[in-house]
Amino acid sequence: MPAPHSTTPPSAATDTLRISLFAGMADAIGRRSVELAWTGGTAAMLRSRLAAEFPPIAPLLARSAVAIGDRYVTDDSHVLCDADVAIIPPVSGG
């Protein structure tokens, strides 16, 4: 009798979220975007993850807004894995 197929348990979806950075924040880390393994969560959670994994941007991060697509979002907003996320540090246009 042939051995039963071993079934591998389905792995949790591990998508990668790409986050765009700008100005002083991009300078602080030397990159214009970073990536995080992301299985979904709020903008607030995203902030915590970013601060933890990229310490140089943490100080500005606390004073920055989160934008998805063409809108700013509040901290309790949900961030999908395919979201077009950007961190907006304190602005100085105009």
Binding site: A23, R63, Y72, P89, V91, S92, G93, G94
Partner: protein, 512 residues
Amino acid sequence: MDTSDTNTPPASTASLLVWEPIDTARLLESVAHDAAGANVLFTGTTRGVTAGVLATQITKRLTYEAHEPLASAVLGRLRDEAVAQYGLTACAIVHRLGEVAVGETSVAIATSAPHRREAFAAAEWLMERIKREAPIWKCEEGADGDRTWVHPELHPDSESCSKPRPVLVDSFGRVHTDLRISVTDRCNLRCTYCMPLDVAFKPREELLSYEEIVRVARVAAGLGIRSIRITGGEPLVRREVAELVRQLVTISGIEEVSLTTNGLLLAEQAADLRRAGLHRLNVSLDALNEDAFERIARRQGLARVLAGLAAAKAAGFQSIRINAVSIRGLTEGEIVPLAQFCRREGFHLRFIEFMPLDGESSWSDDQVLSGREVRDMLARHFGPLVPAVRSDASQPAIDYSYADSYADHKIANGGMDAAGLPTQAAGVGFIDPVTQPFCDRCDRLRLTADGQFRNCLFSTTEWDARNVLRTGGSDDEIARLLRDCVLSKQAAHGIGTLAFERPARAMYQIGG
């Protein structure tokens, strides 16, 4: 009122972000419009010299960067909002990116409108919003070649960024969030400083119905009004005010509904008002002595007011405020008794300087019993008054705590009442519109009982909302009327200056 259709500007095809020098002349031309009597161009130019606290900063070069898709969207939305809010005939915004030499234009705004007030105000408003919300950053290169990205302390308010909120801003930058609505010109008292003995009230059909009031309130809330105060005459003489309250508290955007009353009918209505959702109560009471009360009000009623106050407390109203008008020769003897009463009962007491809006036209300078004098009287009796921390910068009263109860209050209630509103210490405050005008912080607008918008107690012009309501006007027209009213607001009420003109209406007709 200008009724020409000015709310459909040509769809702007001008780029919002550019990488080369801005053609400001062409930008101004681009907003020309048949219906425009005013065209405004604002250019923001890069400074080479910035005076700082410690040293003068020299800038050699500026570089601008943006999150371009978001910036285009934000600028586009701001432009559309400006057109809608200010009734512009056209509007164009351009922000430059990349390297901008000193003295060159980094941002340009062009607006056009039927009249100059809107054109100027819109440009000002847009600059303010662009600076706060546009995801654009500048990098300054100093004389020594150091490059620094500018990230100011004031960070973008993500709440306002994600939900563009229309605001009623006048030409002095004052944001209006408070609407006083008078529901009647009638009153059950005849206070000498407000109403003449022989008075003629408006026929009922000239007053707005509750349906009309709620409709106006809804439009106002959509424009940024967050709090409503119901006044009169005496609001409680109007039937079923609680029903009006019930409807107003449910309007989206309205955070607080309060009411000012002389208290005579409060004993019967306090519970209903509380159940309807009324947040706060102000009770006008100028004297604790029956004779003094009657001399001022020209009617009896002190006992009923006291019963009303007790009922209000029993109904669960917290932070009840007593408003007492100070009049030289009339109320000096009532100041200390009132203060004692309020301290005992836990009411916050406020003294208001007598203002020139009485029915008998009998006000003159020497009749002002100033807040300062009242303060001195209280201090002599109760000891020094301790300035209280201001919870609301736009509130006209300067508040104090009594030194002996100061410590108690700090421990007591952690600052919030059952409704989640900040409580006030049972202290004493002073509203001194004559000796300390607070016009620069004014955030309030008024709707009279007969449906006229006013931007100031003392203004000599009104805007006829009732006419719009009763001739089939749209909410948009009501909104435009309110905006016009705001934009015409003067810098100050001008009491005591040569320019001051007594308004034709008395207080009871405008709404206290």
